[in-house]
Subunit: 334 residues, 2 copies
């Protein structure tokens, strides 16, 4: 977290020039648990000591890597999310604005321009392309509306993965185009026998609905940039959705704040993660009610107005009652 922008640690661009999430092979001989392995690996490569670490998901779809497409081995990635305080990473790694990879997720100032400019048109085109007289168009419309809070539906911040997958399927983000090209090239070379899907796969919920990957006949008008290497944007979306859910019932935000902070800072971090504006008054009431923080007695060095009280996180709360989070109080025009 830097000021108001959530950041994600990325490592040097891969062959195609896209940033990647830090990752590496798992060596079973070095660590007792997978989590310890993650901590050690990140510490060695980037010099960062991780605070909160949580297993995210294990990705194992076919053709996640170009190597496999060319006949190489299947890649399984056991992904973890971790939260760290701002720090300078080692060379080769860099903090990048999280929302640069998914601008549609940031609604702190209301629905972003990218929705009207690119997302909604792409979804509409896709919906229209599904007109087959058997209700496909209606189903597509419903799915798009729910995912993106269009047509009267409410925006659900936690559905970040669903949105990412939908945009991929629709062909509105650039890895859809990239993977289509890769797939075509490989098929031409006659390498893989049954290349039925590249990169992303059917998500939970879509179950057995026969996801087919992006198809060229439904090309979107404008394709959004921001692809990461392989399926890393999808992994990022998974992490974002998971954190947004977690923030509501576990005090994880504090991992992103310095030991002393103002309530305004806390609110900013919550807003940055959830991507939603928060009603200040209600937020303060909520935080006070949970007992998650206590005054330090210090005051913020002024930045224009009345000085703010400084607070610290009460670690005891982790042991007390069922530790609540600080996610509610969602107001705003979404």
């Amino acid at each position: 977290m830097t000021a108001d922008t959530p950041r994600v640690l990325t490592v040097g661009d891969d062959a195609s020039g896209a940033p990647a999430l830090p990752s590496g092979p798992f060596d079973p001989t070095t660590d007792r648990t997978l989590e310890k392995s993650v901590r050690r690996w990140v510490a060695e490569r980037t010099g960062l000591g991780l605070g909160y670490v949580e297993q995210l998901y294990t990705f194992g779809d076919r053709y996640r890597t170009p190597e496999e497409l060319a006949g190489g081995p299947r890649a399984l990635s056991i992904a973890y999310v971790a939260l760290v305080r701002e720090a300078r990473p080692a060379t080769g790694a860099a903090w990048r604005d999280l929302y640069a990879f998914c601008p549609w997720e940031d609604r702190r100032a209301g629905a972003p321009a990218v929705i009207d400019a690119a997302v909604a048109p792409a979804l509409s085109a896709w919906t229209a392309a599904g007109a087959d007289g058997r209700g496909t168009a209606r189903q597509r419309r419903e799915r798009a509306d729910i995912a993106f809070g269009l047509g009267g539906a409410a925006w659900d911040a936690d559905r970040a993965l669903e949105r990412c997958e939908l945009l991929y399927e629709v062909g509105a983000i650039d890895e859809a185009v990239r993977d289509r090209a890769l797939r075509a090239a490989e098929t031409e070379r006659g390498a893989a026998a049954s290349v039925d899907a590249v990169g992303h796969a059917v998500g939970p919920g879509a179950a057995d609905s026969g996801y087919a990957g992006p198809t060229s006949d439904e090309a979107a008008a404008a394709v959004l940039p921001g692809a990461m290497a392989l399926d890393h944007r999808r992994i990022l979306a998974t992490a974002l959705g998971r954190l947004r859910g977690k923030i509501k019932y576990r005090p994880v935000v504090f991992e992103l704040l310095p030991p002393g902070f103002t309530l305004r800072q806390l609110q900013r971090v919550v807003e940055a993660l959830t991507g939603m504006p928060v009603h200040t008054g209600n937020f303060r009431r909520l935080v006070a009610a949970t007992g998650l923080v206590e005054r330090t007695g210090d005051r913020d060095e002024v930045t224009g107005g009345r000085p703010a009280e400084m607070y610290r996180f009460r670690r005891d709360v982790l042991r007390e009652r069922r530790a609540p989070g600080v996610g509610a109080g969602g107001g705003g025009r979404a």
Copy 2:
């Protein structure tokens, strides 16, 4: 789900005589996604068609299997939870009462006897054994109270994994004893160099607190039976906790009910899964408010009293608004 008892599919006892969860090797050549692989595998072995399937967790601690303890390879298990309607499994597999493996989780009729008879004493002994003048005893007491809702703390049904891990650490469940013996035997034979923990490992939240596994100097008075093969009881606890959390915000219970059901049946399933009694009036109000179900017009074949209205799950809800679950309304004497 059979009548009021939640069941789990187990396969033939392993060498030590303990039941195991269905599992098998992952063959990367057969399926496009891990989930499809799970579905196919279960269908082939047990003849069951899975409904709801969700990736649970990837277990990768050292020494999860006796083979590794004897110098064999590290085992990684990518676990999935699935919900199916009652059905006869193929030979070799059997449905067993879920709560036979964790009786302390079933509080439908209030706190079960096993709490006072075995769990609480074991926790007290462990707490007392931590008296070192540096607050260890107090920390243990707090941890035990939170996990098991003792000493005025509220019972949190979702913390099933936390409880299972604590009981293992405390040495109150039999795989703790089993693993201790295994470990001792191996160490004696001088096989493994640094056998620091067998079976379970530190869970999320305990982070780097230096979990050390069960130690013989803190042997519990009574050891609870019900171990599954390897760390499968732990995996089961993970699944239970996950489902209990999910039930609150996704309509997953319906996977366990026949197409037509009464509200009482629905309530029973929810109670069975959450392990908590539910206030009937409030439950009905909640279910009605969510619009998850609709009347079929039929009535239940009577079983003693007034006939009940039959309902069906409204699948459209999955596409409408943010589909809520049916988990609230927890009343009862817990």
